[in-house]
Amino acid sequence: MGSASLIALTLAAVLFSAGGILIAKLLVKGTVNPQKGQAYECGIPTSSSPWNQFNIGYYLFALIFLIFDVELIFLYPWAVVVKKMGMVALVEIVVFLFILFMGFLYAHKKGALKWM
């Protein structure tokens, strides 16, 4: 069984990755025009080369937003079971939020939330 499943797995992996590329290759119609090089749907055409320096603040904001956004998602499953678990759940979420809050405070203290 083991051998077979390993081979199956390998085949599946190859199919999954190679297959995707292959199908795309098969389906696409090989036309090239300038429109395809443009930014898609939203935004405006680039005015200069994208390989220039820009404000690191963009990154910081994006990262901090992402971190807290992701962490807060954990509140949803908590909300579902909080009634059943009672006090324990409350304590745990307070600890969790406390940790998050400390991180937030730190970011604030370091001035990461100030647009320079």
Binding site: S3, L6, M102, Y106, K109
Partner: protein, 468 residues
């Protein structure tokens, strides 16, 4: 609830320390000197408290477990961290981000604790990640150096890759056994190719962390670029922690495929010892040299693990303890010299004895211990490793190991010769060592003498060890 507090005592205390440091950082600006005093005091307390009133037990549906050996292992890591912290005093006292350094460092230590105590692959993985990612950040702490950034980048990329391998392995294990708990895996594991492949992936992940050949190539670049404190942390603490996990995982979880992993480990240890030695011979940078020599040391540890008995387990823990002392003695001197003079080349150490006799002796004793020259503790450590390895009667492996010990003797003694016998027009000037680094060096020296000669240490470790 009370049990939880006692069982997780070490983790909770560490978390508390992290938060104290974080709060301090947020609340007010302390000057570096006072902050370092406080941190070292806290770490010392942390180390001492580790010995008080521990308790064995399991928590969270066997996600987390602990026993006397694990408590001891955590204490060993605490000690190592304390020594490194003391040693990096002269580097950190003028650094801009001391608090961050310690917070990140202690987070990795916390990760290691959870990793060691893991009773479940998922828990293990979480601990591993917690112990790796902050390391990449502090590898970049020589902010002005490009090499430091390069080191951090290489570390994060290659460890991401190894994490990928681990996760792939874990998912295959889960797929084939239906469980992630260690006990469950041990019960249903067998040597069919699928599970063997999963094991190879896991072993590669482990091998990456302990830098066993051929998973070691990141080591040299990272060690060289990272600040010395981080390098010593990587090569001693982080490696030690992984070894502490590797041994029980191999001995208990993957016991059903012992024969297979024995062969793999055999191969890995031979290649690791030889390649580590070959690399170490030609290094001219002291840190890089120590990095490669530590690869060879890992090879010897793997020899001990192949013994797969309680002798193997205790030999590994014992050796890691000694290795912490010896390597940190060497790193301590190198770290101090590098922080005060910026010189890291081996040839810079020519004539070192003339100007700094005490430091020279510390360095020499550390190197002797690493080389395994009696009567230093390193000799006893290697001796027990090889003795454990001999348990399986594999004398080819032992012969290779012994021959390589001789080769390693060559390159360690080459440095000792440079220190004591070679003359130098511009030797490193006379340095006066501040209190904290000096204390760290004394600790290491005491450790090298004490652990070697006092039977009690080994006996105690052996009484706690597992094996089959």
């Amino acid at each position: 609830m009370n049990d939880l507090l006692i069982i997780m005592k070490q983790e909770l205390l560490l978390t508390l320390i992290i938060f104290v440091l974080l709060t301090l950082k947020i609340a007010k600006d302390m000057d570096n000197g006072a902050f370092l005093n406080l941190v070292n005091l806290l770490l010392a307390i942390n180390f001492v408290v580790g010995f008080l009133g521990g308790m064995e037990g399991m928590l969270f549906n066997e996600m987390y477990h602990t026993n006397s050996l694990i408590i001891l292992e955590k204490n060993i890591l605490n000690l190592g961290t304390l020594i490194i912290s003391l040693q990096s005093w002269s580097w950190l006292k003028d650094h801009k981000h001391v608090a961050e350094f310690y917070i990140l460092l202690l987070c990795t230590l916390l990760g290691m604790f959870f990793m060691i105590s893991a009773g479940n692959l998922l828990m293990f993985y979480l601990g591993l990640e917690l112990s790796t990612i902050p390391l990449a950040a502090i590898a970049n702490f020589d902010l002005a150096k490009r090499k430091s950034s390069e080191a951090a980048m290489k570390l994060i990329i290659s460890s991401a890759f190894s994490s990928g391998l681990l996760l792939f392995g874990i998912s295959l294990v889960y797929g084939s056994t239906g469980t992630l708990g260690f006990a469950g895996i041990a019960a249903s594991y067998s040597a069919d190719p699928m599970q063997l492949f999963a094991f190879v992936l896991l072993l590669a992940g482990f091998g990456f962390k302990i830098s066993a050949v051929p998973f070691h190539l990141w080591t040299a670049d990272v060690y060289e670029g990272a600040p010395v404190a981080v390098t010593s942390y990587l090569s001693v603490i982080s490696k030690g922690a992984i070894l502490f996990v590797l041994v029980p995982v191999l001995y208990t979880v993957f016991k059903p495929i012992a024969e297979s992993w024995y062969n793999m480990l055999y191969l890995l240890s031979v290649v690791t010892i030889i390649v580590g030695n070959l690399f170490a011979i030609r290094q001219e940078n002291f840190k890089r040299f120590l990095a490669f020599s530590s690869i060879a040391q890992v090879g010897f540890i793997l020899v001990g693990i192949t013994g797969s008995s309680s002798a193997g387990s205790s030999a590994v823990v014992y050796f890691v303890l000694i290795y912490i002392f010896s390597n940190l003695a060497a790193f301590g001197v190198v770290s101090f010299v590098s922080a005060t003079t910026g010189r890291e080349g081996i040839s810079d150490y020519k004539g070192f004895y003339k100007t700094n006799p005490v430091l020279s002796w510390v360095l020499a004793i550390g190197l002797f211990s690493l080389a395994g020259v009696p009567p230093t503790a390193g000799f006893f450590g290697k001796f027990f490793l090889l003795l454990a390895g001999a348990g399986k009667g594999n004398y080819i492996l032992l012969t290779i190991a012994a021959l390589n010990m001789i080769i390693s003797l060559y390159y360690y003694l080459r440095i000792v010769k440079a220190i004591f016998m070679d003359s130098n027009d511009h030797p490193i000037e006379k340095l006066s060592v501040p209190v904290f680094p000096k204390l760290a060096l004394y600790l290491c020296m005491a450790g090298i003498v004490f652990t070697g000669f006092v039977r009690y240490v080994y006996d105690y470790i052996q009484s706690l060890s597992i094996g089959f």
